[in-house]
Amino acid sequence: EADIYQTPRYLVIGTGKKITLECSQTMGHDKMYWYQQDPGMELHLIHYSYGVNSTEKGDLSSESTVSRIRTEHFPLTLESARPSHTSQYLCASSDGTADTQYFGPGTRLTVL
């Protein structure tokens, strides 16, 4: 079972602020993902990474950016938060051969 952590768990912030959502995993997984989920809706992939210095955008357009400087760390940044960014953000990881993604507990973001 993968250990994957996200902080903060909950964040309420004002419009225009810069925020970074943290995601770390201790399993040495090469692949990491960020999903966005609104209540009652499917998870949408917004970013993924296949390894250090590799990042790609997912199928859902997002104003956020990501970086992958270390294998275990995959932070997501919003330069200027807006109310439309209010959502739950889920981080996941998988190894190079497995088909299963393991999820963190999520960050529920509210932008006022």
């Binding site: 999903y35 009652g40 499917e42 296949y50 088909d99 999820f103 507990p105």
Partner: protein, 113 residues
Amino acid sequence: DQQVKQNSPSLSVQEGRISILNCDYTNSMFDYFLWYKKYPAEGPTFLISISSIKDKNEDGRFTVFLNKSAKHLSLHIVPSQPGDSAVYFCAARGGYNNNDMRFGAGTRLTVKP
């Protein structure tokens, strides 16, 4: 473009009975299917999966059935327990980007004691 659909947003069953959760997909290139379970304030947890070369996979009380011709899969939970109450997500992987996972919107299962 919702390629994975869970048409029932909720399902309620009595403890001890069978729970059947359904999922339909549109992309015939999907070759691997998964079910995840999600409790409130937690991330999804992997439950069971099935490869497209199989039509059934069983793990304890959980069985997933795949009907490729109908592009349909289902999750059976027998017997259902109150602790099974959660949101269940169907996911499918494959297609042009083999690592692209598509998720359904989830079905909220409530198992009544």
